[in-house]
């Protein structure tokens, strides 16, 4: 075990994967000698050479197109998109190509080795174009997996699982926690399961569900609620697609209440999908309407981001209202 922040854990995961398998490659804008603008790929070029860790030209559609071809060839590319906000030029390559490669060829060809890493989320004074949470756009596309870690331990275990998964994976990293989240991380290789939510805390009154950076917010809100005598069950979804319906539904059968929170805007956000599915599964067990605590239906602001973000107070309010319904 070593004390690491999330960036170090991600770097350690990439190092572990590259050391174990020479087919693993890391590339993207500035990931070479500089180690990425956040330093997630530090020292990888020195260790594994310019052929396996390199800078690409500044062209996201090219990075993912290249990565698709490379994965189809049998390599294991880990492509970095510098900010999730800049993934959209590659949208076509991701939703029409990565996601459909296996299906359209009848499994003659697939890009299962592909992992796309991108820092996402707000709270870093990044404004409109350095703060978005684009998971819902991709969650509408069958064939992709979407994974979001919440701390260094999760980041290493989930990233290694993503790299070894037989499907293309989008790995969204909560950049607000890159250096803020520190914890013990095993030195050896380990993988955490994709497609499985994790129950972080058991409780009886209300289920509180989120992912990534929102888990820290949930933790604070739940502390406040528990002081008020509300027993919360806390779940980290971890994989947005395909998501773990069973774990969430089983929790709601028990608690009868659900609060879902994410940073992305409300309308069309993934909380809507969860709410629809859970009311279908748990309709007769629900004690109150499923609550969504999310970013507003606005572009992400700069100066007023604190007001915009779904913070612990907003989540706490939702827990209260849900229980007091």
């Amino acid at each position: 075990m070593t004390q690491m922040n999330m960036l170090q854990a991600i770097n350690n995961a990439l190092d572990t994967a590259m050391a174990a398998d020479e087919r693993v490659l890391c590339f993207g804008e500035d990931v070479g000698v500089f180690g990425g603008v956040f330093r997630a790929t530090s020292n990888l070029q020195q260790k594994y050479g310019k052929a396996r860790c390199f800078n690409t030209p500044l062209v996201e559609q090219g990075i993912i197109g290249f990565a698709n071809g490379l994965a189809a060839q049998g390599s294991v590319p880990v492509a970095e998109i510098q900010f999730a906000d800049y993934i959209f030029p590659a949208f076509d390559q991701i939703v029409n190509e990565s996601a459909k490669f296996r299906y359209r060829s009848g499994d003659l060809f697939n890009v299962g080795g592909l992992t796309i890493r991108a820092p996402y989320g707000g709270g870093i004074a990044g404004g409109l174009y350095h703060s978005q949470s684009p998971e819902a756009y991709f969650a509408h596309t069958p064939g992709l997996k979407i994974v979001v870690p919440r701390n260094p331990h999760q980041a290493k275990g989930l990233l290694l699982a993503a790299i070894h998964d037989l499907n293309p994976v989008l790995f969204f990293e909560p950049k607000r926690l890159y250096r803020a989240s520190v914890g013990e991380v095993p030195d050896e290789e380990y993988r955490l399961p994709l497609g499985e939510a994790e129950v972080l805390k058991e409780g009886t009154d209300v289920t509180v569900l989120g992912w990534g950076a929102q888990m820290e917010v949930i933790e604070q809100a739940v502390d406040m609620a528990e002081k008020d005598g509300i027993s919360c069950e806390v779940i980290d979804l971890r994989t947005i697609l395909p998501w773990d319906v069973e774990t969430v539904a089983n929790s709601v059968f028990k608690t009868g209440r659900l609060v879902v929170t994410h940073e992305a805007p409300l309308t069309g956000g993934f909380a809507g999908e969860i709410a629809a599915t859970i009311q279908e599964r748990c309709f007769l067990y629900l004690e109150s309407p499923i609550a969504r605590v999310t970013g507003m239906d606005t572009p992400f602001p700069l100066v007023l981001e604190k007001e915009h973000l779904p913070n612990h107070l907003k989540v706490f309010e939702a827990i209260r209202s849900s229980v007091d319904f």
Partner: protein
Amino acid sequence: MTTTKSRVVYTPSFTDGAEFRIPTFKVLKQDGSLYKGAKAPALDKDKALRIYRTMVTTRILDERMLAAQRQGRLSFYMQCTGEEAAVIGSAAALDDADMIMAQYREQGALAYRGFTIDEFMNQLFGNELDYGKGRQMPVHYGSKKLNYMTISSPLATQIPQATGYAYGQKLAGDGHCTITYFGEGAASEGDFHAALNMAAVQRVPVIFLCRNNGYAISTPAAEQFAADGVAPRAYGYKMDVIRVDGNDVLAMYEATKAARSLAVEHNRPVLIEAMSYRLAAHSSSDDPSGYRSKDEEAVWREKDPILRMRLWLERKKWWSEDEEKQLQETMRREVLETMKRAQKRPPPPLETLVTDVYDEVPPALAEQYEKLKAHIRRYPDAYPKSAEHAKGGA
């Protein structure tokens, strides 16, 4: 930081884009003789005939399948007519283990590799033997065995993928390259520019083959780009480039052979611009009479690449009228017979709706599938193709 030393001037001095003009490589005249100073490539009789037979087969397949589409047997089709030399001549210059990442009009390259008429038909009719399991429109072929990447409808997406695929081949050190085909219209997409730039920077063994056939559906090349075709763009990426008469099979073969050695032996990506003409419609859904004249088409019909090669073969005494007649008759018969067979075969099983989305069917999708099966069991008459498959299960 710039990578080239630039001459300095002290008054504004522009370089006119029109200065970049690229010559066209030709070997074979329309009457089957060679241009003065041109040399036929080292092609033995067997290979030359394999190329020729593939060109004829592709033409017959195209004619028959367009007719089948018109009869309502097939939902859609795309012909390669007029571009057989560009596609098959280049494919013949490759090693069979090189990867082909095509656009959609390159059935000739696949036929050259040995894709059978049966295999074409199974895809066109989307039956249970279609490798793509009946999921894509007709002409979206693919073959793992023949190193031919399954076609994808979105235009130009295969171009940066080819760069990536070839980069993997370079790292594997297996001495192979990737060729990617696309039209001059697709060369306007961002993917094209991304692919060439990345290939040049990383020194990737990839051949970019632009079939400049004059039209992107109805948009003529003159409304597609202002420059001297697509070829001059290679200058901007510091990439090797050649323009070839795309109706000249010998020139296409020779140019691609040379491009392959640049790619594989020197890790230099190459752009080939094959100047040709799409004699047929863009697809069976298109009607070229709405945007070009019969006279224009007639000019290009005179330059038929198949006839040109045939005349060359006849001069060499490698081919005769009798052999031509026999090939035409055999192929026509085979196409019709295999079409009937393919059309009769059942569709892919119902479960192919949900397989291959992921490596394993996720629980939520498995649940949707069970619901669908239960629904089909309730209304079997409404789903005659799937009713039998839906019988199993709870």
